[in-house]
C-alpha cells in the first residue's frame, strides 16, 4: 500500500504508523459543562464504517508528520492525504 504524502509523494505504508479515526483531532473542550459526557464519547465511541474512512497516520520512518488519510476500508483504496497540521490551521483561520 502506498500513501500519497502531500510533501514527499508516494511512500510505502510500512513507513507509517496508524493511530485511528481522524475525529481524534477534535478534542472536546474540558471547561464545558458537558465535558465528562463529551470526553466519554471522545475516548470510547468510534464509528466503524465499511467504506470511506478518514484516519490519522504518522510518518514515523519519514519526516514525522501527521497525515489525515482518506481510505476506503473495503477496497483499501487511498483517496487522498492531507497534513493534519494544515487542516488544523485552516480550521483555526476559518473560526
Amino acid at each position: 500500500m502506498l500513501i500519497p504524502h502531500p510533501l514527499l509523494g508516494l511512500r510505502d505504508a510500512q513507513e507509517f504508523t496508524y493511530l485511528g479515526d481522524a475525529s481524534l483531532m477534535d478534542r472536546p473542550d474540558p471547561t464545558l459543562d458537558n465535558a465528562e459526557t463529551a470526553f466519554c464519547d471522545y475516548v470510547f465511541m468510534r464509528d466503524n464504517p465499511a467504506g470511506v474512512h478518514r484516519e490519522l497516520w504518522f510518518h514515523e520512518q519519514g519526516d514525522r508528520s501527521w497525515l489525515v488519510v482518506t481510505r476506503n476500508t473495503i477496497t483499501h483504496e487511498i483517496l487522498g492525504a492531507e497534513l493534519a497540521k494544515d487542516l488544523k490551521l485552516n480550521r483555526k483561520d476559518a473560526q
Binding site: 510533501l7 514527499l8 510505502d12 513507513e15 514515523e60 520512518q61 519519514g62 519526516d63 508528520s65 497540521k85
Partner: protein, 185 residues
C-alpha cells in the same frame, strides 16, 4: 589518568572501508552533524553560507552540507568536524534557531561507485522501498532500511550516504555490505 583509546562507531580504531566490485563502502568518522529547527514564524537562516534546501533535497558548499529532514528542520553536515563541538559553531551562525548536537547519535556510511549510477541504484533497489531512478543527485530523505530508520543522501549519481543510528552501526553495516556483496553474484 587512564589512557583512553577512541573507537569508531563500528568499534575499530580506524574507519572501516571495504570494496565490493564496483562499490566501496566506507565508514565516515569525520562527519560532524547537528540539526537545525526553525521556531514558529522564523525565516530560514543561511549558516556558513549554506542555502537550506527545499523538501526532499540537499545542498552542499565547501566543507558543509545540509539536507531537509522535516518541515522547518534540517540536518547540517560538516566535513572533518566530528571531534569538535560543531553544534556550538552552528548555534553561533543561527542563534535564533533550535540547534541540537547529532554527531554522537549517528553513523555515516558512504557508498561510492566507480561505475556510475547503476551499482548504486541496484543496491538501493535491494535495500529500500524508494524509486532509485527518481532519487537523483541532490535528493535526500528518511526511510526504513531493514526496520532501521536511516537518512539517504544522494551526493552524486555514483555516491550515496546512508546515515543511521550509531547504536545500530554493526547491523547497518551488515545490511549494506550483504546487499553490496550480492551485487557481484
Amino acid at each position: 589518568m587512564t589512557d583512553l583509546t577512541p573507537i569508531t562507531a563500528l568499534g575499530g580504531t580506524s574507519a572501516r572501508v571495504q570494496k565490493f566490485g564496483a562499490l566501496t563502502i566506507s565508514e565516515n568518522t569525520e562527519l560532524g552533524l547537528a540539526s537545525l529547527s526553525l521556531r514558529s514564524g522564523q525565516a530560514a537562516p543561511s549558516p556558513f553560507g549554506l542555502i537550506l534546501p527545499d523538501i526532499g533535497r540537499s545542498s552542499a558548499i565547501e566543507g558543509f552540507a545540509a539536507f531537509w529532514t522535516a518541515t522547518g528542520q534540517w540536518m547540517i553536515e560538516a566535513d572533518g568536524q566530528a571531534d569538535r563541538d560543531f553544534a556550538k559553531a552552528l548555534k553561533s551562525e543561527a542563534p535564533q534557531c533550535s540547534v541540537t548536537e547529532q554527531t554522537d547519535g549517528f553513523v555515516a556510511f558512504e557508498i561510492e561507485s566507480i561505475d556510475g549510477a547503476g551499482p548504486i541504484n541496484d543496491v538501493m533497489a535491494k535495500l529500500v522501498n524508494i524509486d532509485p531512478l527518481g532519487f537523483d543527485e541532490g535528493s535526500a530523505l528518511r526511510t526504513g532500511l531493514e526496520h532501521m530508520s536511516v537518512f539517504l543522501v544522494r551526493r552524486s549519481a555514483g555516491h550515496i550516504a546512508v546515515i543511521g543510528m550509531r547504536t545500530l552501526a554493526d547491523s547497518l553495516w551488515h545490511a549494506l555490505s550483504t546487499a553490496a556483496a550480492r551485487q557481484n553474484t
